[in-house]
């Protein structure tokens, strides 16, 4: 069933694997183990969010109102676009299209950068409105007690997510250079696939951050 005697060795096949398929599956498994640690890492932050939201529901709703829903929704759409181009880049590698890989990787990088630019304008707005936790926190009209915790979590969670985006863009640039040099083929495209998993994961984190941070302001809890 698993044999390699009848095939010639692919130059990219490491000696401890039976076949290219097994090598790819092993690397996918390894990447997922890493992504699970990332799930737990962000999970701790979501846990903190849950605890403080339970403690300060009014502060959460009022603070959420200060976030720009349109920018948040725009960034969600931008990330979904980048996930599509990422998936198409992996597919291009699978079918051996060098041009498809290059075009889709560049699009992915552009969408990722767009996300960061929108995020920059959002952060700038928060600074202008005195919504950054610390001695200068003082929005007018004032927000209820606990709002600084909301904004602390907002900056930590979206900031760490943005750092992941930066890492993803660097990663995609490396993969782009490799694709440009024609390193990948239908038999060997592991690096594209693995980097794609990372990119999609960062998209998933945002899928949860968007409703939990931006969309609480429409319905205020009772006892304002």
């Amino acid at each position: 069933m698993i044999g390699h005697s009848e095939h010639e060795h692919h130059p990219k096949l490491q000696h401890h694997f039976y076949s290219m398929e097994q090598q790819l599956e092993a690397s996918i498994l390894g990447m997922w183990v890493f992504l699970v640690t990332e799930v737990m890492f962000f999970g701790g932050l979501f846990m903190a969010y849950l605890v403080y939201r339970t403690a300060y529901p009014t502060a959460w709703a009022k603070s959420s109102e200060e976030l720009n829903v349109y920018m948040g929704a725009l960034n969600t759409a931008v990330l979904i676009c980048s996930s599509l181009t990422m998936a198409l880049a992996v597919r291009a590698a699978q079918v051996g299209s060098r041009r498809g890989q290059i075009v889709n990787l560049i699009l992915t990088i552009i969408f990722g950068s767009t996300f960061l630019v929108v995020k920059y304008f959002e952060y700038a707005q928060k600074f202008e409105h005195h919504l950054v936790p610390g001695p200068h926190f003082g929005p007018s009209p004032p927000l209820p007690y606990g709002s600084q915790i909301f904004f602390a979590l907002y900056f930590i969670m979206t900031g760490i997510h943005a750092l992941h985006m930066v890492a993803g863009i660097v990663l995609m640039s490396v993969i782009l250079v490799m694709a440009w040099r024609g390193r990948f083929s239908p038999a060997y495209y592991g690096p594209v696939e693995i980097s794609g998993l990372y990119w999609h994961f960062v998209d998933i984190v945002w899928i949860f951050l968007f409703p939990l941070l931006y969309l609480l302001g429409f319905n205020q809890p009772p006892l304002g």
Binding site: M47, L88, P211, F218
Partner: protein, 101 residues
């Protein structure tokens, strides 16, 4: 072992992409409706559905080995344990007069 060779048609990716965009619009729409305490539950249900679409189709977990699938599911299962035990602690503190909320 030939599962790695399955190539998803572009059409599938575009369909999933469109579905994700529709769900994003839906999330914003339902956030403006008043379901009382169910608002967050509805938002999270949509978010989980979107995440499942990304994991199953874009990340192509559907073509991965059972071992990889178990690892994926276990990651999110442990997350639920974290939330479940964490919140059962915090929510039950007022009942027995323990400090902290």
């Amino acid at each position: 072992m030939s599962t790695a060779h399955v190539i998803t048609p572009v059409r599938t990716y575009v369909t999933v992409f469109a579905l994700l965009l529709v769900c994003t619009g839906l999330t914003v729409f339902v956030a403006k409706q008043d379901f009382g305490f169910l608002n967050t539950a509805v938002a999270l249900t949509i978010a989980c559905f979107k995440a499942t679409l990304v994991i199953w189709f874009f990340m192509a977990v559907r073509y991965n080995t059972p071992l990889t699938k178990v690892v994926v599911v276990s990651g999110f299962a442990w997350l639920l344990i974290l939330f479940g035990l964490g919140m059962s602690d915090y929510l039950s503190r007022p009942w027995i007069g323990v400090l902290g909320r």
